[in-house]
Amino acid sequence: MAAVRWRGQSTRQAQLQRVAAYCLAPATIVFLLLIAYPLASVLWDAAHYVNLTNPSVSGFAGFDNFTNVLGDERFWPDFWHTGLWTLVSVAGEYALGLASAIALAQPSWGRGVSRAVILIPWVIPIVVAGLTWTWMLTPDYGILNLWLVKAGLLAKPFYWLGGLNTALMTVAVVNIWRSFPFYTVCLLAALMAIPKEMIESAAIDGAGPIRRFFHITMPSIRVVSLTIIFIHVIATAINFDFIWVMTQGGPLNASETLPILIYRFALEDFDVGAASALATMTIGFMLAVFFVYWYGTRSRRAEAV
């Protein structure tokens, strides 16, 4: 009896494993086809001398590429720029996404239209959005500076993208503008899934709106929030387009982040080895962030149990 049961479990287990394998197969194929080879070539190049304009150097480089990258005077500033850019962008996106999702979850006149309008930044291609914002922000012939001056908020037009201290933050604001609608969609979906009765019964118990927000709303959207935040931290840290289109990392590298530096290594210095080493390090940093996040939430989960 016991043996039969054990066998039954085993076939059940084997069957489940098969089901899992079938379900994972398509994603695995796409991964192997399009990601595995590029990833492998990045790791391979990181350990080799690869220079497109200098065929005379080649062969195994050991950690040379890594030491070259770490020794580059732009590395640490760019590292901090990347962190700042990611932090400001994701925090701003989440704040705006949450605020807009809550506002859109309320019954209001013209809700459908506002929901569609808020998505508009997201459907404008990044290159076009970047160029348009750059133009609108220009001091001499941009409409935003003109209005800010007319409204008395600025004494004279300011070159937002040209200042050493403002360039990166200005691009971050535009990035927030463009990216927060995705948060809105996800958070709105999560908010709408909260049963009305839960909120009403809390209100009957005398919970005010702030209390209701922190005790019912936030816990209900926690999983979605953590997922989109985590995924956007990665996507923002490796984002290249916005900064490239708007400032190319300038002025004087003030808005240069690690992905821009990777681009410069690869397509300006033609040093594919250094570019790959930096990309490998970037992946390493992000895995470290992931493990911190993972173990942080795991110990919390364990406490909850």
Binding site: G112, I118, V123, P125, T132, E200
Partner: protein, 281 residues
């Protein structure tokens, strides 16, 4: 109602204020694009830019459409974005299901971490390897190339998002369905997908927009004007010595407006899906 009158008034007031601010923030650059697309050249290049158009004109749209490739770019983008959305959703629904239901299996964990890492590779660096792959597969200058690449980009996020949605569907439901003789595929098709419709829809929108707007791979992998997609097509108006803002903006408006209108309708469907899900759940 239990929620007090004063609270409700404040809430209505705040809601409308916040919505108005958001609508202005989101719409402003877009309105500027529409406005510019209707201006004659002399007003586009002005020291005193304003929303007021002295001599409105459709000349910019004429210039864009005079290039007979533009409608083709549009069609190509619809095919590529639509194709990659459907393909990505199929792939990630199965993958998300496995991630959600068999999280302890080795294979699942391996695929999960692989997907995670694949999110972390900067696109600029994998351009050349992907070009080589596509050339070897004979897929350069085809829609399939872009569909596959956009799928690879959107897939990790979709898988994890859908896993989250599938996690909220109780396992008991699946066990009950199995007892009723429902196959696993039947369960996915009849119960899991309808119940997660809002999530799948949101992911579908994400895939579509990612593909619609992508620029880098769109111009690198396509060496054939007949297969070119919209974003690279729009950017030709940024010439070597002069940006034709009027035409650039007119082309962008033509690219953005249909998608925006599509959203207005999807919005309704999204709400319906959510309500349906809420009733069933």
């Amino acid at each position: 109602m239990v929620i007090g009158g004063l609270e409700r008034t404040t809430r209505v007031f705040t809601t409308y204020t916040i919505l108005a601010l958001f609508v202005a923030f989101c719409l402003f650059p877009f309105l500027w694009m529409i406005d510019t697309s209707l201006k004659p050249v002399a007003e586009v290049r002005s020291l005193n830019p304003s929303f007021w158009i002295v001599h409105p004109t459709l000349d910019n749209f004429r210039r864009v459409l005079a290039d007979d490739n533009f409608p083709i770019y549009f069609r190509n983008s619809v095919i590529v974005a639509g194709g990659s959305t459907i393909f990505t959703l199929i792939v990630s629904t199965f993958c998300g299901y496995a991630l959600s239901r068999f999280p302890r299996q080795r294979l699942t964990q391996a695929v999960g971490s692989a997907l995670l890492v694949s999110q972390m590779i900067p696109g600029v660096l994998i351009l050349a390897p992907i070009y080589i792959i596509m050339r070897r597969l004979g897929l350069l200058s085809t829609f399939e190339a872009l569909i596959l690449v956009y799928c690879a980009f959107a897939m990790p996020l979709c898988c994890f998002m859908l896993k989250g949605f599938f996690d909220t569907i109780p396992r008991e439901l699946e066990e009950a369905a199995e007892l009723d003789g429902c196959s696993r595929l039947g369960f996915i098709y009849r119960i899991l997908i309808p119940l997660s419709a809002p999530g799948i829809l949101a992911n579908g929108i994400f895939c579509f927009v990612t593909a619609w707007n992508e620029f880098l791979f769109g111009y690198v992998l396509i060496n054939d004007e007949a297969r070119r997609t919209l974003t690279p097509g729009i950017m030709v108006f940024k010439g070597p010595h002069l940006t034709d803002w009027g035409a650039l903006m007119a082309a962008s408006v033509l690219a953005v407006v249909p998608v925006a209108l599509f959203f207005v309708n999807l919005q309704r469907f999204l709400i319906d899906g959510l309500t349906a899900g809420a009733v069933k759940g």
